[in-house]
């Protein structure tokens, strides 16, 4: 069954253009094991047609869902990571970046698009988990910042789709300060009375949860996403016993008061557009 595995990997990390997947390949839902063609799967917004399982998808996938006619321009697309600390663990950070760029076709873990959602201008920033686990380093922070600037310039809302393991350790202090930087940019957006919607997808943890992902005027999430500050393994070690069923799921986080609503990917565009309309400031 190795082709199933290959296929899934393709979806989660390399599937930036759905058209690139050769026809005739299959997708098996990891939840219910239902099998469908990858075309059907993509047509269905990468949901399992049987159990609605939300497969992890890329920034380009989300843009294709959100932007009218999939039309958008990228903001700060050219930024790539430096190596501010000349960091080396088992591998030099510089090399890691180079390899990842080549393998993933991504430049870093955040892509920022500007386009229309149901006829209204919007800036959408979206993380790519395929780039070092969606970790936040200087490039993520700066692209986020320029996305906010673009929204202010265009007088339109800002949406961020989070999907991240947290900070990028290889940028250490710089990575930490991106939490401060992104939060600082959001105060500027707020000063302009522009709505900020944080959309949390599977998984959103660590420094991203402890900064921009939790700062939405409304925080919304996909069903059954893992959302937390500390990862479940760490929490389990801390308390020394098993975690309760559904701990740190979207539904759990909603119940505890940190999400405004959970939205099925199929209804995302329409509901988001309505929320944006509702928050458009009356002067």
């Amino acid at each position: 069954m190795s082709w199933f595995k290959r296929m899934k990997k393709g979806i989660t990390t390399q599937n930036q253009e759905k058209k690139e997947i050769p026809e005739g390949l299959w997708y098996q839902c990891p939840e219910c094991k239902h099998v469908m063609t990858s075309d059907q799967h993509a047509e269905n917004d990468w949901l399992c047609e049987k159990c609605d399982y939300h497969e992890k998808i890329t920034s380009l996938n989300y843009f294709s869902i959100l932007f009218d006619e999939n039309q958008f321009s990228e903001v700060a697309a050219h930024l790539i990571s430096g190596d501010p600390l000349e960091f080396t663990d088992t591998k030099a950070y510089k090399d890691r970046i180079k390899t990842t760029i080549n393998k993933s076709g991504l430049k870093d873990a955040l892509r920022v698009g500007f386009g229309n959602i149901e006829g209204e201008k919007a800036v959408v920033a979206c993380m790519d988990f395929g780039f070092i686990g969606g970790s936040m380093g200087s490039v993520v922070g700066e692209k986020f910042a320029r996305g906010v600037d673009k929204a202010i310039e265009e007088n339109c809302p800002f949406i961020c789709i989070s999907k991240s393991g947290g900070a990028r350790m290889m940028e250490a202090g710089f990575s930490l300060m991106q939490m401060a930087k992104t939060s600082a940019k959001l105060t500027q957006l707020a000063d302009h009375q522009l709505p900020y919607v944080s959309f949390l997808t599977d998984p959103t943890t660590g420094g991203v949860t402890a900064s921009f992902a939790m700062l939405g005027d409304i925080n919304i999430a996909e069903p059954k996403a893992l959302i937390g500050f500390a990862g479940p393994r760490v929490v389990k070690e801390t308390i020394g016993k098993d975690l309760p069923e559904g701990f740190q799921s979207s539904e759990f986080v909603l119940e505890h008061g940190f999400l405004d609503y959970i939205v099925n990917r199929k209804e995302l565009k329409q509901k988001l557009a309505l929320s944006l309309k509702q928050m458009k400031a009356k002067s």
Partner: protein
């Protein structure tokens, strides 16, 4: 009894020799003054030498030195009996790992906030090892807003191995609590000074770390992760903490060099733990002069500059 870290052994030895000499003098009546003076000179030289060549991992160890002063000790001493601790987040709880309240610094009211570690086993547990829960961050924010209302400067003393990663902390939104503080501290319309007095671990530290001046004491560390955890994640082994400590550039010198903090506060010879009184006096002077300096700006200007400062952090390539 003073505690000594492994690498402080030469200091320990010299200190013990001096003590022995003094003890024997008392018994025998022999004049040892000259010998003691020689040894004390040697002690100073040795200490200077040791502290000049400190590696990052040693700094990390010093930041956790059991004899180091904690937040409450600094605050109480600096405010000379005028500190009143204020409690509670007004929602759920009073978090013992996060303390706060007004105190007078030479007659001027200042809001002090800090993570508090315990000095013995019982107190360490009571203080949850300086690891705050969400209610701790929310208490801190409440007190900062109180200070803002009355236009009082805010000083935070950071000393934490991290925000607490417990079950209830997650239930009550540890991530949200820290995020909210980052956002709201950015726009506090009063001078805000943040000082790492011990450990500055990740979001748990940053959660009270947004200020007009972020300062590190000499023997502290500040980074996105502890060297131990970094080693365990990146090297998949606990054995690389020394290497990780270097790689993370977490010392005051490195953080200043990288423009991620605004300044370094010198400690007494041999570290703050070797001379609490002097450490307290240095800290007090720094805080007072920094407040005076910041007060030259309007509060609106402070907010603007604070936001701009953090927005400028990051290094990347425009490819």
């Amino acid at each position: 009894m003073r505690n000594y870290l492994d690498f402080e052994a030469p200091i320990k030895e010299l200190n013990e020799q001096i003590q022995k000499l003094k003890d024997s003098a008392v018994k025998t009546g022999v004049n040892v003054e000259n010998a003691v003076q020689e040894l004390e000179k040697a002690l100073i030289a040795k200490t200077e030498d040791l502290y000049k060549n400190m590696d990052p991992w040693q700094r990390v160890q010093l930041s956790r030195h059991p004899d180091r002063p904690y937040a409450l000790e600094y605050i109480e001493a600096m405010t000379e009996g005028t500190w009143i601790e204020l409690h509670g987040d007004r929602t759920v709880k009073d978090d013992k790992a996060m303390i706060g309240g007004f105190g007078l610094l030479n007659g001027e009211s200042v809001m002090f906030i800090g993570q508090q570690k315990g000095a013995n086993t019982k107190m360490r547990q009571y203080r949850n090892f300086g690891m705050a829960n969400p209610e701790g961050y929310r208490k801190a924010l409440r007190l900062m807003r109180l200070a803002e209302k009355f236009n009082k400067p805010i000083v935070t003393l950071i000393d934490t191995p991290g925000a607490f990663p417990g079950l209830e902390a997650e239930e009550r939104g540890q991530g949200e609590a820290i995020a909210r503080n980052l956002f709201e501290m950015m726009r506090l319309k009063v001078p805000v000074i943040c000082i790492i007095i011990g450990e500055g671990a990740s979001g748990g530290a940053l959660g009270i770390g947004i200020g007009d001046r972020v300062l590190m004491m000499e023997n502290t560390w500040y980074s996105v992760i502890s060297p131990e955890s970094c080693s365990s994640i990146l090297w998949r082994s606990w054995d690389y903490k020394v290497t990780a400590a270097s790689a993370l550039k977490l010392t005051a010198e490195d953080m200043k060099w990288n423009g991620l903090i605004d300044g370094i506060i010198r400690e007494p010879l041999g570290g703050a733990h070797a001379n609490h009184e002097q450490a307290i006096s240095i800290l007090k002077d720094v805080i007072q002069s920094t407040i005076a300096d910041l007060r030259k700006n309007s509060n609106d200007e402070l907010v603007k500059q604070r936001i701009e400062k953090f927005c400028a952090m990051g290094k990347y390539v425009e490819a």
